[in-house]
């Protein structure tokens, strides 16, 4: 895990080094006009023209001592920026991913069980729509229909009234995840308000992402249903429900779990478009801004963070594998 993260940091740092020192320094310049001498002095002061390995070691030392630097795009230290942006993303992902997986598995099972029947075709149409629609198009259309015409499910993460309470000292932030904090503060109006704002992006993500899981679940469920052990279960006198739920589904879950782990980790880092459309200041939006403005500390931190997330999720996926399939448990 550490090796993977080291490799990731080395790779991204190398890319950052391609950018000339002047441009890397430019983001910290606050005056309108600056002389070349001042600029050079700045580059010298921060050692931006040192050899790349020297800079890398210096950066690594700072990281290891817990100093991640200052992010200009967040106008706060990187850690503070992370604390404000990440929970908003995490909240959406926490609600959306389980639903994506459940919807995918559920529809996939329906498709496999009713193979080549109208229900199966219906799920396939759903999958094609989910596959092929661009995120921005679907997001905008959803926003247009629900918020524009019907006036429900507004964008953003909280209503203004809710924000007043949120930023009042009486409201304690424990986890920075809005719905959880709302419950901990026993502020149910904030809780419902937050959910109300979450609904549309969640629907958007479900429509777009469950298609993949659906297709995967359908095909692996079909494969499992064709196996010999299903015949044994039939000969035992098991009813359809037992066969689908106990005998076939667990065998069909393995590829689905792999994809689910990758999906979860991927969503945590890359919902730039969804977050932009629904005006949620999440980590995706922050990273996009940081990349555009050469906010090196923020980029490096987020890349490292995403690397960690992927490594951790691979680990979780492996553990779940072992739980589901005893053959992996021993190997």
């Amino acid at each position: 895990m550490v090796v993977v993260l080291f490799g990731v940091s080395l790779f991204v740092f190398a890319i950052m080094m391609i950018i000339p020192p002047g441009r890397r320094a430019a983001i910290y310049v606050t005056q309108e006009k600056i002389t070349p001498d001042q600029m050079n002095a700045m580059i010298k002061k921060y050692g931006l023209d040192d050899p790349a390995p020297v800079q890398y070691v210096r950066w690594l030392k700072q990281i290891l001592s817990g100093n991640f630097g200052y992010s200009v795009t967040a106008s706060a230290p990187v850690i503070e920026g992370f604390k404000t942006y990440f929970p908003i993303t995490l909240e959406l992902v926490l609600y959306a991913t389980p639903l994506i997986i459940l919807v995918g598995i559920w529809l996939g099972t329906i498709g496999a069980v009713h193979k080549d029947k109208p229900l199966d075709h219906a799920t396939r149409v759903f999958a094609i729509i989910g596959y092929s629609l661009p995120t921005f198009w679907l997001g905008l259309i959803l926003l247009m229909i629900f918020y524009g015409y019907l006036g429900i499910f507004p964008p953003g993460y909280l209503s203004n009234k809710g924000k007043d309470i949120l930023f009042s000292p009486a409201f304690k932030r424990y986890t920075y995840i809005l719905t959880v904090d709302a419950v901990l503060n026993w502020r149910w109006n904030i809780f419902w308000d937050a959910l109300y704002h979450l609904a549309l992006p969640t629907i958007n993500l479900i429509l777009l992402n469950s298609a993949l899981i659906l297709r995967l679940m359908r095909s692996s469920m079909l494969e499992a249903l064709g196996q010999d052990y299903i015949r044994t279960a039939l000969a035992k006198g098991a009813d359809k429900r037992t066969i689908y739920n106990i005998h076939a589904r667990r065998n069909a879950m393995i590829p689905v779990i792999t994809i689910s782990g990758i999906l979860f980790a991927g969503l945590l880092g890359g919902m730039v478009i969804t977050e932009t459309i629904f005006a949620r200041d999440g980590i995706g939006l922050w990273m996009a801004r940081a990349a555009l403005q050469m906010d090196v500390p923020a980029i490096m931190f987020n890349v490292l963070f995403l690397g960690t997330v992927f490594v951790v999720f691979n680990l979780i996926v492996d553990v779940v594998y072992a739980y589901i399939d005893p053959r992996i448990r021993l190997a």
């Binding site: 010999d228 052990y229 015949r231 000969a235 035992k236 006198g237 009813d239 037992t242 106990i246 667990r250």
Partner: protein, 428 residues
């Protein structure tokens, strides 16, 4: 002799993209009580499809299109038999694994890799012996409560007992309703008028919809923590599973129940498959090439095991194989199949002494013999494509005695001598 199961002219077709595969062409066999019945023929001749039709587990795209499968299980239907093709799926579920069960070739793939051996065997008990298991569990719980050793846990045990009793009540009501429906269905068995057929279909659907569990228990079973009350039941079943495995000669049954299929050897896996099939003491055991893919010593062990079980716990065995030696050793009566036709049925001795059908003769001649010096004989030609099977007798293109009449109609099955049935124009 008392019949146990009889098939009358079953036709099973597979509706594939290339065309309709006519896998069974009017197969009629009769398995009697207490007999070992052999079904022989080369690969693809429809042996497996025949037994799957009997159990009604022909998987899509296959379908039984015509015929009757009569089951003579209880005393009241000794005369007429129950036509299982007219019964509901739920009825079949109650029959499979309970009265008729099946063991398969390739035990390694017939066992579910992600479920423990214990659970896979226990499922047979859960599906067919739930009432007995519940009663036993309630009895043990009662004993434990009365022993008075448990102060706090006693309440939990009383709660468990209450839930199990509710489950048992629900099950008894279910059994009662099912018995009523089945009785009415039996009366309607041979009905031909539309009203009765409608009623029969309605009853079948009703039986399919009936649920074994009462809604309360169903709900409780999904609650966190409380759902663990069911563990007691599984403990009871586990005792039975261990006993069964011990009976079948599985070493260390206490450990084996917690293992998974991949941790066992091929012979052990086959024993587990047999255990699943035998859990409820079936009246008919169908063995679909149970010894293929096992090495010879294990084969002998499994065959011996089936022989012993035949004497102790099962009434009849329907044995499928392409090994004529095994047939001679195991079976009382045997049917030779060719390309979906049942060509010849006879007692084993008669068949080996006096084979009648040209295909049987060819088959017996092509068995390798230890002392033979000559080249092994074979039947010329190949097995026909069953999408476009030959007309009449399906063997006639390869038959050395073929006459004009053979390509016309299918030859009828006639009794040549006592107990020796043959479908061939040579003997008419």
């Amino acid at each position: 002799m008392q019949k146990l199961i009889e098939t009358r002219d079953i036709y099973t077709d597979f509706f594939t993209f290339e065309g309709v595969v006519k896998a069974l062409n009017g197969v009629s066999i009769i398995v009697n009580q207490g007999e070992t019945y052999g079904l022989v023929g080369e690969s693809g001749c429809g042996k497996s499809v025949t037994v799957r039709s009997i159990m009604r587990i022909v998987q899509s795209p296959g379908r039984i299109v015509d015929g009757k499968i009569l089951l003579f299980l209880s005393l009241e239907d000794k005369e007429q038999g129950i036509d299982i093709l007219k019964r509901s799926e739920a009825y079949m579920e109650s029959i499979r694994g309970n009265d008729i069960s099946m063991i398969f070739q390739e035990a390694s793939t017939s066992l579910n890799p992600v479920l423990s051996i214990g659970y896979q065997v226990a499922e047979s008990f859960l599906l067919h012996r739930l009432d007995e298991m519940l009663k036993e569990t309630i009895d043990t719980l009662k004993g434990e409560i009365e022993s008075g050793k448990f102060f706090i846990a006693g309440w939990w045990k009383k709660f468990q007992e209450f839930l199990f009793k509710a489950e048992l009540d629900g099950l008894e009501k279910y059994t009662e309703m099912v018995a009523g429906i089945d009785k009415r269905l039996y009366e309607l068995e041979d009905a031909a008028d539309k009203a009765s057929i409608d009623e029969r279909n309605h009853l079948n659907r009703k039986r399919d919809r009936l649920r074994k569990t009462v809604p309360v228990v169903q709900f409780v079973r999904h609650l966190p923590f409380i759902k663990h009350y069911g563990k007691k039941l599984h403990k009871t079943i586990r005792i039975h599973v261990v006993d069964l495995l011990k009976e079948l000669g599985v070493a260390n049954p206490h450990n084996v129940v917690d293992m998974y299929p991949h941790e066992l050897s091929g012979g052990m896996q086959q024993r587990i498959v047999i255990a699943i099939a035998l859990a409820c003491h079936p009246k008919l055991l169908i063995a679909d090439e149970p010894t293929s893919n096992l090495d010879v010593t294990i084969q002998a062990q499994i065959i011996d095991l089936i022989k012993i079980l035949k004497n102790t716990s099962i009434a009849s065995v329907l044995f499928i194989t392409h090994d004529l030696g095994l047939v001679a050793e195991m079976c009382d009566r045997v049917t030779v199949m060719y390309a979906g036709d049942a060509c010849e049925t006879a007692a084993v001795k008669d068949l080996f002494k006096e084979p009648l059908h040209p295909y049987t003769k060819g088959l017996l001649r092509s068995v390798p013999k230890l002392k033979a010096q000559k080249e092994l004989e074979s039947i010329p030609g190949t097995v026909p494509n069953l999408i476009h099977p030959p007309s009449g007798c399906r063997f006639h293109p390869r038959c050395p005695h073929a006459k004009d009449i053979c390509s016309g109609d299918k030859p009828p099955l006639i009794e040549y001598s006592e107990g020796h049935f043959i479908a061939c124009y040579l003997y008419i």
